[in-house]
């Protein structure tokens, strides 16, 4: 049986940690999460990492694999370790709690800052809103609604590295789905929240988030939409 050489980041803080090497048996159809789980269960029980569903639904197992942020549960070793070497580190742009576990608070706080909450005006006593599935707004929502909040785009984004206040691709993409939600009544406040140096205008259109999103979503598309929406509102004097 062949072996993989796996370098895993160990430490309490990113600056104080270091990579440690492990040998893991190479198995058929093995995922990167399988490799991390093997190390934690068979080699070193003190290794900390995060996962839940193992099937690409929960978004909790994202890590940096050979320098690229990925969901590890659906990343096959054969795809990323062609020379039998795996380097596994915590997500970038987030504080490291321990080993492969990052503090996601700032990531989700930015969703709230971008007014990522739906705000309607109807109560349960009124009729359901009717949104045509083939309407342009609904299609815009559909294109971005499957986000699982894994943080891969945020971890991959260079602008987040340059500007810690930048809301990031996921929060802005979420805001774009609500900008297209015809039932939402907080549109002006939302556009104000996503405009400015830490908002959509800070995006340099590197398209890294789109390249890396495991769900095939394009946050860049949403951010471009927000840029247009903010510009239109500004020209109309609404912001």
């Amino acid at each position: 049986m062949s072996e993989l050489t796996v370098r895993i980041w160990r430490g309490l803080e990113a600056e104080n940690g270091e990579f440690q090497d492990y040998k893991v048996p190479r198995l058929e159809s093995q995922t990167v999460l399988d490799v991390v789980t093997y190390v934690q269960r068979r080699v070193d029980a003190s290794l900390s990492y995060r996962f839940a569903c193992r099937v690409g639904v929960c978004g909790s197992c994202a890590m940096s694999v050979n320098g690229v942020s990925r969901w590890t549960c659906r990343t096959h070793v054969s795809k990323v370790a062609k020379d039998g070497l795996l380097e596994i580190a915590p997500l970038r742009n987030l504080p490291v709690i321990k080993d492969l576990v990052t503090d996601m608070s700032v990531f989700f706080d930015k969703w709230a800052k971008a007014r990522g909450q739906f705000q309607g005006e109807h109560t349960r006593h009124e009729a359901f809103a009717q949104v045509k599935p083939d309407s342009k707004a609904r299609k815009n929502v559909d294109a971005a609604i499957e986000c699982i909040g894994c943080g891969v785009c945020y971890s991959s984004c260079e602008v987040v590295s340059w500007n810690a206040d930048y809301l990031g691709p996921a929060a802005l993409s979420r805001a774009w789905t609500l900008v297209n939600d015809v039932r939402d009544v907080a549109q002006k406040e939302r556009l104000q929240a996503v405009a400015g140096d830490a908002g959509c205008q800070a995006c340099h259109t590197h398209i890294t988030c789109t390249e890396r999103c495991p769900k095939g979503i394009s946050p860049t598309a949403g951010i471009a939409g927000l840029k247009r929406a903010v510009l239109n509102a500004s020209l109309k004097g609404e912001l």
Partner: protein
């Protein structure tokens, strides 16, 4: 922890680097451009002397590089405007290839015109 080159290694990031570097190079060239134009203020003889100096092959090669940088910066900028202001579609790599093609074509056309 920050990303390293491995995370940035994809076509659109390379396009960003090219756009930024060409912009910086062109802005550094701008004072030289104004200085060259200023030679006209020193009289016809001085200007003609400068224009003869620019006929040297290596200056033409440098001018070709300049034209490529200008074309790359312009086509890269148009690419971004098209991406962000036209309805979104999965065409960013196509636009990138077109921008690159326009830049190389402009450089080759300039080379044909000077040699």
């Amino acid at each position: 922890m920050k990303n390293d080159f491995r995370s940035r290694n994809h076509p659109a990031y390379w396009a960003f680097i090219l756009h930024r570097m060409s912009g910086v190079a062109l802005s550094l060239f701008l004072p030289l451009h104004f200085w060259a134009l200023g030679q006209a203020l020193q009289g016809e003889i001085k200007l003609q002397g400068f224009l003869r100096w620019t006929e040297q092959p290596w200056v033409k090669i440098a001018e070709t590089l300049l034209v490529v940088l200008l074309a790359a910066h312009m086509s890269g900028g148009v690419r971004l405007l098209m991406l962000e202001f036209l309805p979104w579609r999965s065409w960013h790599k196509t636009l990138l290839a077109l921008a690159l093609g326009v830049s190389v074509a402009m450089g080759l056309m300039f080379l044909l015109s000077v040699f």
